[in-house]
Symmetry: C2
Subunit: 126 residues, 2 copies
């Protein structure tokens, strides 16, 4: 059975996909895939998602060159979350220029967001 | 502004939450939180989720003792995904007894799922 038929898509036909740096284990981002983007990811070994805001296929790095080389793909126990282990070309996965989209830490009392990690590129220049 | 007001819940009032092993960087699971579970997670520093199947608060490990001690909490750039860095008591986060829910790797051709990682406990005994 192909992976495309094994995964459980939600009511919108989407499944969450986590991208993790294959070398460091850092979690880079979480985005969404539809069947078409998952098929293309498996076939091309590049991170391809579904942009919910643009309602279109999102080949990550297509314009910037900051593509994700997919090293391995995992499926969770409930078959409703995908994990990609990737080599993030350019180093930064986040559109803000941060290595990871998870660059804001919640303060212990829950009242503040503390910025972590440095900016790797100027988003305006990409 | 409190984190509870900063995050973007989806149409069902939920936000995805990734649990990552704080020591090893392994991704353990992805589950969902509502505002109440996020509030309790921030306050108690234990992993508390929302069970979509049971439609109730899910205090992870409440019965098994396999709780998640939350070391830090991160929010992504779009404020619509939570990342918990945790110490998983008992070692296994998955109800199957695996350390991680992502214990099945997709074969390169997309036609098979290959089991990775060993079983840490007998699910029937918990």
């Amino acid at each position: 059975m192909n992976i495309l038929d094994s995964v459980k898509y939600d009511a919108n036909g989407l499944i969450p996909a986590i991208a993790q740096d294959d070398a460091t284990g850092d979690i880079l981002m979480m985005a969404w895939m539809n069947r078409e983007s998952l098929e293309e990811t498996v076939r091309t070994k590049k991170g391809v998602y579904w942009s919910r805001s643009r309602r279109s296929l999102w080949r990550k790095g297509e314009e910037s060159g900051h593509v994700q080389d997919v090293k391995s793909i995992f499926l969770d126990c409930d078959a409703d979350v995908i994990l990609l282990r990737v080599n993030q070309i350019g180093g930064a996965a986040c559109h803000t220029g941060h290595r990871s989209c998870f660059y804001r830490e919640v303060s212990p009392d829950g009242n503040d967001l503390i910025e972590r990690g440095k900016i790797l590129f100027d988003p305006a220049a990409v």
